[in-house]
Every structure is written in structure tokens, then in C-alpha cells.
């Protein structure tokens, strides 16, 4: 059994979902996503037991492209994130009715497939293919099942697609250039290439463009809020929960080791950009009227911090970034789900039209509040572990980075609590608000359980990711 099993399960799942018809689609999709989760846990065990779970097959001879999937700790952690979030996301959609649901769920599984592939691929081109593939399902999910004015949505979605594609095409160019030097797309070979500082600069920039748009780092974020708002919540969850992490993961896996000199040289600029994102995102989030948009900007702020952590080129920064990625993945999915729960009842995403929900739905309030608190990185949640580590690493680079980045804990608390206050608190709303159903509750509970458990005991994850991050660091510091 090797890592390709997960991919196969998800791909078969996508087809099975499509052919199972609209009625069964959601259940079949859930089943397969759970199977993928199970499979990845088994693989994790095998990996920990020292088994070789990588795959490498030659695929295209000239240019030399291999079907190479390699699962190290970092990759597995991200795969687990994907595998765990997918069933949650699918399950969370059970309360909604979607037209053509077979297509819908098939696309979700397909996207999950592509994202898993991205995290596993150890051949540059294979990675790129998965990277692009992930874009197509989300495009259709947002386009067809999205909400809001159709024309606006089209505009937002096409902008998103073109924008992200634009970035990644430059990455492709960089990959091709690297291939000329290395004669192979395999990551080990690419790591070995010796590039001049100037070459590295351009390579770094090309990668940065791709990732800055995907993550997004300001000022490349303009697609984000609109798409989050327009996409169906499931799409938003996929985007924010997993897809953003593709960008962040790629920074660690590809960008930094491939252009270490440039990474060191321009470290400050990129950290500064990340931190600017933190502050900017937080400030913009303050005055958002749309709940999903607000969450989008909060996401912008958080990923800014993660990116800043990654660019510190320290083990702590990496480790914190990865942990924060996982934590943020869960939290943001939960938060968007909360927005969806409210939408199911109130048919609105305008914060002004909400309020006074707490009295009617204590369970929902508690869970929502826990998520809000996790999002502001209250200690004892997993987010704190990540955020603390990242901030610590920033402080090692320059204390000002830590101070500026640390404003997130103030501003974050400000906008999240403000949002919580206006959405949940206040005089009891005249519109009835039914408390969470069992299905909804389960989704929330799983997310919260994960966040709290790792908040107190992050060791399994740390142990999993540390060796591979050390390897990456070694590559970065090789000369």
C-alpha cells in the first residue's frame, strides 16, 4: 500500500459519486472521503513504522517527467488535513439541497483528489498538474452553485481563475527553466541544481507570484473576498480550508529550497509583506458587512502570518507555519460552516440583519464562540500553538516583526469579537433560530475536538513534521 491509494480512492469516489445519481451522491461522496481518511491514517501508521510508502514511476521520457509521489511528514500532515476536512465539508453540506448534486459532490471529491496530489507530488510537473487541476472543480463549484448576483459572480469567479492561473503559469515557466538545469523534474534533482543569485531571484519571484496569489498575500488578494462571498459555502471551505494551504505548503516545499539564496536575500521583504497582510486584513475585516467577506479577510490576515513564518527560514517558523496551517484549516472551515448555519435559518449573510441569536441557540453559540476564540488563537487551542511558534520565530528574526505581527492578537480579537457581538448577541432576534441539528453539531464537534486536542497535545504533529522540515532547512542551508 502506498500513497497513490488515497488518490485512487478519491478519484474512483469522484466517478462513483457521479454515477450514483443525485439522491445517493452525498452519501457516496462521504463514504469515499471517509475511506480516504481511513487510508491516510493507515498510511500514517505505516510511515511511522518506517515503511516506504512513496511511489515513483517514469511517465514521460522526454522531457523526463515521473509519476512520483513522496510522502514525508510534511506531505502526510497536509494530506491528513485534506483527508480530514473533506468528509467534514461534505458532511456539513448535508443540510443543503444542491441541484445536480452528483456533479457537485463529484467535483468536491475531484478537488480533494487534486489537492491531495499536490501535497504528495514530488515531481515538479506532476505537482504543477495537480495544482492546476485543483483549480477547475472550484471554478465550477463557485460558478454553478454559488450565490449572489449571477453577473457579479461570473466576474468574481473568472477573475479568480485567471488570476490564479496567471500566477501558476509563471511558476510553470520557472519549473521549465529549472528543468533545463537539472534535466529532471524530480524534486531531489531540482534541489541539487546550483543557480546563480540572479537566476534564483527570478525563480523565486515566479514562484512567489503563483503562491502570493493563491495564499493570498497582499496586494494579490483582491480575488479572495469576492470569491469567498460568492462561492457556495462548501466551496469557500474547500478554498480557505485546504486550497490556501496548497500555496503555503508549496512555499515550504518548493519555493524556499529551490531558491535559497534569493530566499535569504529578500527574506525581510517577504516577511514584511506577510505581516502587512496581517495588519491590512485585520483592519479591512473590521468594517465588513458581509459575514463571509469578513471571514475572508480574517483568513487573509492569518495566512499572512503563516507566510511570514515560512519566510523566516527557521525551523520554528516552518513548524509554526505548518501547525498554523492545519489549525487555520479547521477553524476556518468551522467558521464558514457557522456562517452557513446562520444562512440556512436567516437566508442572509449581512451582519446587520443578524443578532440576538444567542438566546435562542445556546449550543450553536457555544460552538461558534469556541471557533471564534480558536481563530483569535486563545491558548489551549491549536491555533495558539501555531501562532505562538510563528511569532516566536519572527521575534528571532527581528523583534519588530513579532510586535507588528503580534497585533493580530489584538486586531483579530477586535474584529472577531465585534462580529460575534453583532451576529450572535444583543436583543433576541424576532426571527426564530433553531438550534443546531445533530448533523451540524457533529461537524462542529469534530472540528472543535481536533482543535482542543492538538491545542494541548501538539506533539504528534510536531513529531510528524519536524524531520521533513529539517530536511528542507538543510537543503536551504546547503551552501
Amino acid at each position: 500500500m502506498n500513497v497513490s491509494t488515497i488518490l485512487i480512492i478519491l478519484l474512483i469516489g469522484a466517478f462513483a459519486t457521479y454515477f450514483s445519481g443525485d439522491k445517493l451522491a452525498s452519501k457516496v461522496a462521504l463514504l469515499f472521503s471517509l475511506a480516504a481518511l481511513g487510508c491516510s491514517i493507515v498510511l500514517l501508521n505505516n510511515y511511522n513504522a518506517g515503511e516506504n510508502i512513496s511511489v515513483i514511476n517514469s511517465w514521460i521520457t522526454q522531457p523526463k517527467i515521473s509519476f512520483a509521489l513522496n510522502a514525508d511528514g510534511l506531505g502526510l500532515a497536509m494530506v491528513l488535513l485534506t483527508a480530514a476536512l473533506t468528509p467534514i465539508i461534505i458532511f456539513s453540506s448535508f443540510g443543503n439541497e444542491y441541484k445536480n448534486s452528483k456533479n457537485f459532490y463529484a467535483l468536491i471529491l475531484f478537488m480533494s483528489f487534486a489537492m491531495t496530489g499536490t501535497f504528495l507530488a514530488s515531481d515538479g510537473l506532476l505537482y504543477y498538474i495537480f495544482w492546476e487541476l485543483a483549480l477547475i472543480p472550484i471554478y465550477f463549484i463557485a460558478l454553478i452553485w454559488g450565490n449572489g448576483d449571477a453577473e457579479e459572480r461570473r466576474k468574481a469567479v473568472i477573475k479568480f481563475f485567471i488570476y490564479t492561473l496567471a500566477g501558476s503559469l509563471f511558476m510553470l515557466t520557472a519549473f521549465i527553466y529549472l528543468y533545463q538545469k537539472a534535466g529532471s523534474f524530480l524534486i531531489e534533482d531540482l534541489y541539487k541544481v546550483n543557480l546563480s543569485a540572479c537566476e534564483q531571484f527570478w525563480i523565486f519571484l515566479a514562484f512567489f507570484l503563483a503562491y502570493a496569489i493563491k495564499i493570498p498575500i497582499i496586494p494579490f488578494h483582491t480575488w479572495q473576498a469576492n470569491v469567498y462571498q460568492k462561492a457556495p459555502t462548501v466551496g469557500t471551505m474547500l478554498l480557505s480550508g485546504i486550497m490556501l494551504k496548497m500555496g503555503l505548503y508549496s512555499v515550504l516545499r518548493w519555493q524556499l529550497p529551490l531558491a535559497p539564496i534569493a530566499a535569504k536575500e529578500y527574506m525581510y521583504i517577504f516577511i514584511a509583506l506577510g505581516i502587512a497582510g496581517v495588519i491590512y486584513g485585520s483592519i479591512v475585516a473590521l468594517r465588513q458587512k458581509d459575514l463571509k467577506k469578513l471571514l475572508a479577510y480574517s483568513s487573509l490576515a492569518h495566512v499572512g502570518l503563516i507566510a511570514a513564518g515560512s519566510y523566516t527560514l527557521t525551523l520554528d517558523g516552518f513548524r509554526g507555519a505548518v501547525m498554523q496551517m492545519i489549525a487555520h484549516g479547521f477553524v476556518v472551515v468551522g467558521l464558514f460552516f457557522a456562517a452557513e448555519v446562520i444562512f440556512r435559518r436567516y437566508e442572509t449573510r449581512e451582519i446587520e440583519e443578524m443578532g440576538g441569536i444567542r438566546a435562542q441557540s445556546p449550543k450553536f453559540t457555544s460552538m461558534f464562540l469556541i471557533l471564534v476564540l480558536a481563530s483569535v488563537a486563545l491558548p489551549s487551542t491549536f491555533n495558539f500553538v501555531g501562532e505562538f511558534t510563528v511569532l516566536y520565530s519572527l521575534s528571532q528574526v527581528n523583534i519588530w516583526f513579532a510586535i507588528l505581527g503580534g497585533t493580530t492578537i489584538i486586531l483579530g480579537a477586535y474584529y472577531m469579537l465585534r462580529m460575534f457581538q453583532h451576529v450572535m448577541l444583543g436583543e433576541t432576534n424576532s426571527k426564530a433560530f433553531a438550534d443546531v441539528t445533530l448533523n451540524e453539531g457533529i461537524s462542529f464537534a469534530v472540528i472543535i475536538a481536533v482543535l482542543l486536542f492538538f491545542g494541548f497535545y501538539p506533539k504528534p504533529i510536531t513529531d510528524l513534521i519536524t524531520p521533513s522540515l529539517e530536511n528542507i532547512l538543510q537543503v536551504i542551508n546547503k551552501n
Binding site: 521520457t61 477547475i136 461570473r154 481563475f161 510553470l172 515557466t173 521549465i176 533545463q180
Partner: protein
């Protein structure tokens, strides 16, 4: 050689069937016949042989491209059934012309003598003039035919002039001899001039900027099936021929000898960039799908021209690119044929809601557009990848960056169509599920994806 003879025979059979009143059998028999020809052609693969005083020189290059042409023709013939349903008396003519056109095309990639090349290109062109104007009661079709004819024969004149100058320099029409003497120091300047004039003529055929103006008008005015033919088969033939001309006559080395290579490459780069940019940008505002695809074709021509910078190594890449492009084009056009069969135009509005009424066709069209846009797993992506790889290897990184930017622009209009299919409400009833159209669409897109999954199959053919 056998391929060429067989194709010609098949064309004549088509005409005979009409006389024998076997009209219904024409399309099936032709398809079967073409499959046979394909098999025959496949048998020839790998042999390097020249026939009849080197009039026809069979090589890997020629057989591979011939196979591609035959496959495309099969699809086009298959689509003819529904397209010419209202013209039963003419169907044999249409099919025969297509088959003869294929003969011309095959001659163009397997010529060993410029006479064969010239006749081949003229057969192709004249067949296209006729097909473009074939909807004779339609003013647009007339206009398209006329425009194509006028400009095409103008270009033919220039090609002929080029051939003449080459002959003047070499004293022979034989490619092998030209290849050998192209490096001699004693060459008069007529040779490079002739070459350039021929290349310009071929650039017209592939619709590269600034010789592209005919393409959108003609594509728009011609009957849809003819447009399909032009944008897939004809374009592929033209670019393959251009490639063969340049590689066959040892142009690069010869130009290098005369210190003209650099300027030539500059020209190629400029034309390539101009074609990509003009094609893509102009396509943005088009409402007619055929016209849009015409501009898209112009931009793809720009991409394909990049292979001319690395002639010695990029035959496989060109084959792959053309195959990917043409298969996607066939798939797209079969959907367009279906959607616009009862319409008097091919505006995007006709595609509204296709995703709801005919999900399969919508998926096929989406896939083909994605392929053209260069999104992974579709072969269009790999085509661009290999092309970029080749070009970067040759050191033209700036060109590749421009190409990349153009790929981004292209998404804008490809996705306009996708959006129309999926996010707008259907505005018309679409009845009927013509088998041949569906089959063509699905088979071509499956081939396209298969190429994407196993690129080596095609890519390594010409090694």
C-alpha cells in the same frame, strides 16, 4: 506513397458511389476506407523511402503527420453526415473534395519535390475555396469564399515566386538536392529570398500576423464544417508543411551560412509574439464563436511558430501540439455544429444553458476549451509545456514569458463560453442526439485526454 494513392482512389470511389446511387453508403465506406488508409499508413511508419524519383519521400515525419491528417479527416467526414443532411445530392461531392483535400495534405508533408508541394498546397487551397463558398445561396459564405480565394491565390503567387527563385538558385526542385547544396558558399541571394517568400506564403496559410486578416472573416462566413476543417486540418497541414520546408531544405544552416539566421529568428519571434497577442486580444471581444476560434487559431499559430526556432529538435513537439490542438478543435466544433445547426449565426448566446440541456456536449466543449487554454491533463497543457521547454532550452525565455502571458489572456475568452454554457439559462430547445456528432465529440476529446495522460506515445514518435 501508398497512402497517397489509396486516398486518391478513395476519393474517386466516393464519386463513383454517387453514380452507382449508393449515396447512403458514402460516409460509412469513406470512414472505413480512411481507417484502412490509416492502417496502411501505419504500416509505412518507420520506413525511410522515396518514390518516383524522390517525388514522394516517406519518412517518420510524413507518416506521423499523415496519420494525424487522416484521423482528422475521419472526424470531419463523420460530422458531414449531419451537416449535409439537407443537401443529399451533393454529399458525394463534399466528401470527395474532403478526401482529395486530404490527398493534397498528405502530399504536402511527404513531398520530395517542390512540384508536389506546390500541387499539394493548391489542391488543398482550391478545395478550401470551394468548401468555403459551398453554401452558395448564403452571401456570407460567398464572401468568405471570395475573400479566401483572392487572398489565397495571391499567397499562392508569392509561394510560386519563391519556388521560382529557389529553382533559379539551385537549378532543381528536388528537396534532397536542395538540402545538400543549401550549404554551398556559391549560392546566389535568390535562394534566401525565395525561401523567405515561400515562408511568407505559408505564414499566410497558417494565418500568422500580419497575414492573418482573412482568417476571422473566412472562418465566420464559411459553413461551420468548413470552418472546422480550416481551423483544424488546414492549419495543422500548413504549419507542418512550413516546418517540413524549413527542415527539409536545410534553411537554418543555410541562413546561418549567410549570416541571416539571427534576423530570421528575430522575425520568427516577432511574428510568433504578434500572432499570439493579436489572436488572443482580438478574440476577447468576439461574440461569434467561430470568429473567436479563428482568433484563437491565430494565437495557436503563434505558439506553433515557436517550434521554428528549434527546428532540429522540435518535430515531435510540433506533432504533439498540432494533434492536441486539432483534436480539441474537432471536439469543440462538433459541439458548435450541434448547437448551431438550426441557427443562422454562431453567437455565444446560442450556447446559453448547454450545460443543462446537453451536459455531455457541454462537458466536451469545456474540456476542449480547457485543452486549448492549456489546463493540465488535457493534452493542450502538455503541448504548451513541451513547447515552452523546447523554447527555453533554446534560450528564448522572453518569448516564453510572452507566451505565458498570452495563455493567461486566452483563458478570458475560452471561459466566456464556458460561463455561457453553465451559468446562463437555456434559451432554446435542443432536441435530437445525433449519434455521429456525439461520437465524434466524445472520441476526439477522449483521444485528447489520452494524449495528455500518455504524451510519450506521440512525442517520442519522431525521435
Amino acid at each position: 506513397m501508398n497512402t497517397l494513392i489509396a486516398i486518391t482512389g478513395l476519393g474517386i470511389f466516393c464519386l463513383l458511389f454517387e453514380i452507382l446511387n449508393l449515396r447512403k453508403a458514402i460516409i460509412p465506406i469513406t470512414i472505413l476506407g480512411l481507417l484502412g488508409v490509416l492502417a496502411l499508413n501505419y504500416c509505412e511508419f518507420g520506413t525511410e523511402q522515396s518514390y518516383y524519383n524522390n517525388m514522394i519521400a516517406v519518412s517518420k515525419f510524413s507518416t506521423a503527420f499523415s496519420s494525424l491528417f487522416i484521423v482528422l479527416t475521419i472526424f470531419l467526414v463523420a460530422l458531414s453526415h449531419n451537416f449535409y443532411q439537407n443537401h443529399p445530392t451533393k454529399i458525394s461531392d463534399y466528401v470527395a473534395i474532403k478526401v482529395f483535400l486530404l490527398a493534397g495534405a498528405v502530399a504536402m508533408v511527404s513531398f520530395g519535390n517542390l512540384a508536389m508541394f506546390f500541387l499539394g498546397i493548391e489542391i488543398l487551397s482550391i478545395a478550401l475555396y470551394v468548401l468555403a463558398a459551398s453554401d452558395r445561396l448564403n452571401i456570407k459564405s460567398n464572401e468568405a469564399g471570395m475573400k479566401y480565394f483572392l487572398m489565397g491565390s495571391f499567397a499562392s503567387g508569392i509561394i510560386l515566386f519563391g519556388i521560382c527563385l529557389i529553382y533559379g538558385a539551385m537549378g532543381t526542385f528536388d528537396i534532397t538536392e536542395i538540402h545538400e547544396s543549401a550549404l554551398s558558399a556559391e549560392l546566389p541571394i535568390w535562394f534566401p529570398i525565395g525561401l523567405i517568400l515561400m515562408i511568407i506564403g505559408m505564414l499566410f496559410k497558417v494565418a500568422a500576423v500580419p497575414f492573418h486578416f482573412w482568417a476571422p472573416d473566412v472562418y465566420e462566413g464559411s459553413p461551420a464544417l468548413t470552418t472546422a476543417l480550416m481551423s483544424t486540418l488546414a492549419k495543422v497541414v500548413a504549419i507542418a508543411t512550413l516546418f517540413k520546408l524549413i527542415s527539409g531544405m536545410n534553411v537554418i544552416a543555410s541562413l546561418e551560412n549567410q549570416d541571416l539566421l539571427h534576423t530570421f529568428e528575430v522575425i520568427v519571434v516577432i511574428i510568433s509574439i504578434a500572432s499570439m497577442s493579436v489572436g488572443n486580444i482580438m478574440a476577447l471581444r468576439q461574440v461569434n464563436v467561430k470568429r473567436m476560434l479563428a482568433f484563437s487559431g491565430i494565437s495557436h499559430a503563434g505558439f506553433m511558430l515557436m517550434t521554428l526556432l528549434t527546428v532540429s529538435a522540435s518535430a515531435g513537439v510540433l506533432l504533439y501540439y498540432t494533434a492536441a490542438y486539432a483534436l480539441a478543435g474537432i471536439a469543440a466544433f462538433s459541439v458548435i455544429l450541434y448547437v448551431c445547426r438550426d441557427q443562422d449565426n454562431e453567437d455565444i448566446t446560442n450556447f446559453h444553458g448547454l450545460g443543462k440541456t446537453n451536459p455531455l456536449l457541454a462537458a466536451v466543449l469545456t474540456a476542449s476549451l480547457l485543452s486549448m487554454a492549456g489546463i493540465p491533463i488535457f493534452s493542450g497543457f502538455f503541448a504548451k509545456l513541451f513547447l515552452f521547454n523546447q523554447t527555453i532550452q533554446a534560450g528564448y525565455i522572453g518569448l516564453v514569458i510572452v507566451a505565458v502571458i498570452n495563455s493567461i489572456i486566452s483563458v478570458g475568452y475560452y471561459f466566456k463560453l464556458i460561463i455561457a454554457m453553465y451559468s446562463k439559462e437555456p434559451n432554446q430547445e435542443r432536441t435530437g442526439r445525433p449519434f455521429l456528432i456525439y461520437a465524434t465529440a466524445v472520441v476526439s476529446i477522449v483521444l485528447n485526454i489520452a494524449l495528455g495522460l500518455f504524451p510519450s506515445l506521440v512525442l517520442d514518435l519522431l525521435k
